[in-house]
């Protein structure tokens, strides 16, 4: 039997180490939302604390602030992180998206420059993917980077930049070849947000927060050295980043298993009044969260044995986004008349963060490539159906 679903003694020891550290360091009170000014400060402080324990990004090499952990150790770390109720990661655009991209496409200088402060949470990153006329259709982008000697002059309008309001840096795609169309002539450029010619405007959200922003680039000048990869290679790099976004790291199974556990606890409190279908919905949520965890371990150990990740990323994306939505819909049903209350309402009862989570889960099928696009990818690349 090659399949052996047991942790090694080393893995068990690693779990114990993470658990002990988290028990000692995780703030006892929840931090303010990381999409508020107050919350951003608190979360930066937490990232510093994490980095002091060298837990900023455990899978990275030690030279960049990591621990060189393998994927199973990463999964264990995440399980303990969620188990401890530790804060959300302010810098997730950096550590989960740009980090792996830099690791693959960056020069040694770029890695040394950007990765350590990223792991340490000293430089917080935003993504600058979408433009008003380029959403799912990223190839329609219009923002330009005009070369003048060793400088790029950035012009354009980026939108739906998550976290940009409180971030330091952003990464995005720009046309470096002005006559180019679609996927060609695009380069991948890093730029600071507090910089002449860069203006960030928060987008008021339906929950009143500003997790998204627009970025206006009006002749912002950055060194050519800020380009990742070759000129014109931007699309290729961005697709790799999007793969990381959908792939293994962004949504660790522990997150959904924790939601499933909370949902079961909620169900138990409301079981007497719940319509019977909810019992099945909640049990299904638990099974699906387990399936996502099992499948992630399956992929992780396959990758550790030298495999590579492809269309699985699209399968994962659809599965976790629909699971997350289903869990939050069930929670809203269980909360009944209180589901509409904001969490600070006097009679909010056990509403907690369920409403915030529900709003966020509605976006699951949209971001990181809409589920419609993912289904096209599965049909065309895995099932080989005609375009």
């Amino acid at each position: 039997m090659a399949i052996d679903l047991r942790y090694t003694p080393e893995q068990q020891a690693f779990r114990a180490e993470v658990r002990a550290w988290m028990a000692a360091k995780v703030p006892k009170e929840p931090l303010a939302s990381l999409d508020t000014a107050e919350g951003a400060v608190q979360h930066r402080a937490w990232e510093r604390t994490l980095n002091e324990g060298r837990w900023g990004m455990v899978t990275w090499p030690r030279e960049y602030g990591g621990r060189g952990c393998n994927l199973v150790e990463w999964l264990i770390f995440e399980e303990e992180y969620y188990r401890a109720g530790a804060p959300g990661r302010l810098n997730q655009n950096g550590i989960f998206l740009l980090g792996p991209t830099l690791m693959e496409f960056g020069t040694p200088e770029q890695k040394a420059r950007y990765l350590p402060p990223m792991a340490a949470g000293e430089e917080v990153w935003a993504q600058a993917w979408s433009e008003p006329q380029a959403g799912s259709d990223l190839a329609a982008l219009r923002a330009t980077a005009t070369r003048e000697g060793d400088t790029y002059v950035l012009r354009g309008h980026k939108i739906w930049s998550s976290r940009a309001v409180f971030a330091d840096w952003a990464f995005g795609m720009f046309r470096t070849d002005p006559g180019s169309e679609k996927h060609k002539g695009i380069s991948f450029v890093l730029f600071p947000l507090k910089h002449p010619g860069v203006r960030v405007r928060g987008i008021p959200q339906i929950d009143g927060e500003t997790g998204f922003a627009e970025i206006y680039l009006e002749e912002a000048r950055v060194p050519v050295a800020n380009r990742l990869g070759a000129e014109g290679q931007g699309w290729h790099i961005a697709m790799a980043t999007a793969g990381f976004e959908r792939g293994l790291m962004l949504r660790s199974p522990a997150r959904f298993q924790m939601t499933a556990k909370r949902l079961i606890e909620l169900y138990r409190r409301h079981a007497a009044a719940a319509e019977p279908g909810l019992a099945s919905a909640v049990a299904q949520a638990w099974m699906d969260a387990e399936a996502y965890a099992l499948n992630t371990y399956r992929t992780a150990t396959r990758l550790m044995a030298g495999g590579s990740i492809g269309v699985e990323a699209s399968l994962n994306k659809i599965f976790w986004s629909e699971l997350d939505l289903a869990m939050h819909r069930a929670a809203m049903s269980l909360l009944g008349a209180r589901a509409e209350l904001e969490k600070h309402a006097p009679d909010a009862g056990d509403v907690g963060n369920w409403l915030d989570g529900f709003l966020f889960s509605l976006a699951g099928p949209i971001y990181a490539g809409t589920n419609e696009v993912q289904r096209n990818i599965i049909a065309e690349r895995l099932l080989k159906m005609p375009r």
Binding site: D137, Q205, I206, E275, E340, E342, L359, A363, I366
Partner: protein, 353 residues
């Protein structure tokens, strides 16, 4: 057997719709949301001018003397507009509650005309709803103590505001002391009055969900026709078309339930209960799907406060949990239908006791 609305009914609803297009523009809603539940007296006055608070009041009390199949279209329009003021609760629940009690309770008779004209705002705290809508803005409140119906001045109660995600809804828990002086009726009369009020509450929440669903479809369709991706309007993609068509199917059949429930809510029997629960579930499910689909069609844009969609989504979520949540109504249908107390068969659909 006639299951069509008259021209007059459609005209009255049409006139209200035109007024609401004016009164509840996105700008007006945005302004109201910032005041969080401090409703516009001017908007209420314009609605009262049309006589709408008194649709279900007898003509003798200055009302229109009409029935639930007239008001159901009004409630639908109120939903479609995400009207901030609780017209539906006053005209659809409080006024018929007062009208029903008037023969037995002089104080109910006294205020009925004022309630019907809209001069007096009446909030309702019915059994089954933990909070009262529009209590802060009301002149009087109709409150439940067990089976009893009490009429209490606004000044005589304490309010604990309960912020809703729908910032156009002013919800509160009411702290008060029932007394002989506040009691309108008790016993069986009170129980029946509250039961009817609850059924109307659920019926008109369902009717609002119809209007909300239609509005969310309209907004999503307009966006899908305008927004282009990969060189085509996104509304030309089959996936988007099929999602929206699916919502439209749900809406159409929810309409049948809601209009039928309106025609039999007065019966207050088991079959009316099944009809109202079916209506609430069907319309709520349609609205829930419309909200989800609306967000999907809009992409990230759906999260923006600048896009109007959220007003209607939030109202839908709020109404789905009010006047009996999904579990309450599903369990009630199961108890009636699977439990065996309701005779089954196609010849039973229109039976009335």
């Amino acid at each position: 057997m006639d299951f069509t609305f008259t021209e007059e009914q459609q005209m009255m609803a049409g006139a209200f719709r035109e007024l609401l297009d004016d009164l509840c523009s996105p700008e007006a809603l945005r302004a109201a949301a910032e005041k969080r539940g401090d409703e516009s007296g001017a908007r209420w006055a314009r609605i009262a001018e049309l006589g709408l608070p008194g649709v279900l009041a007898p003509e003798a009390a200055g009302g229109m003397g009409l029935g639930d199949t007239d008001f159901v279209l009004i409630a639908e329009e109120a939903g479609r507009a995400a009207l901030p003021e609780p017209l539906v609760e006053q005209a659809g629940i409080a006024v018929p509650l007062l009208a029903g009690l008037a023969p037995h309770a002089p104080r109910a008779a006294e205020i009925l005309a004022q309630a019907a004209s809209g001069a007096l705002r009446v909030a309702v705290g019915a059994p089954g709803n933990p909070f009262v809508l529009g209590a802060a803005q009301a002149g009087v409140l109709l409150l439940a103590d067990g089976d009893e119906v009490h009429l209490v001045e606004r000044a005589g109660v304490g309010l604990v505001a309960q912020p809703s995600i729908d910032t156009l809804r002013a919800l509160a828990r009411v702290e008060w002391q029932p007394s002989a002086a506040t009691r309108l009726v008790s016993g069986a009369a009170g129980r029946t009055a509250w039961a009817r009020a609850f059924e109307r509450g659920a019926l008109y929440a369902a009717a609002q969900c119809l209007g909300l669903t239609q509005r969310m479809i309209d907004i999503a369709v307009a966006y899908a026709c305008e927004r282009t991706q990969f060189g085509r309007p996104i509304g030309s993609y089959q996936a988007i078309k099929h999602h929206l068509a699916t919502v439209q199917v749900k809406l159409e059949f929810a309409r049948a339930h809601v209009y039928a429930a309106a025609a039999r809510v007065v019966d207050a029997d088991q079959r009316a209960a099944a009809a109202v629960s079916s209506a609430k579930l069907a319309a709520g499910d349609a609205a829930e799907l419309a909200a989800r689909t609306g967000i999907q069609v809009h992409g990230a844009m759906g999260y923006s406060w600048e896009v109007d969609l959220h007003f209607y989504m939030k109202r839908a979520w709020a109404l789905i949990g009010s006047w009996g949540d999904r579990s309450f109504h599903m369990r009630r249908v199961q108890s009636l239908v699977l439990g065996g107390s309701l005779p089954l068969g196609s010849d039973q659909t229109f039976v009335r006791s």
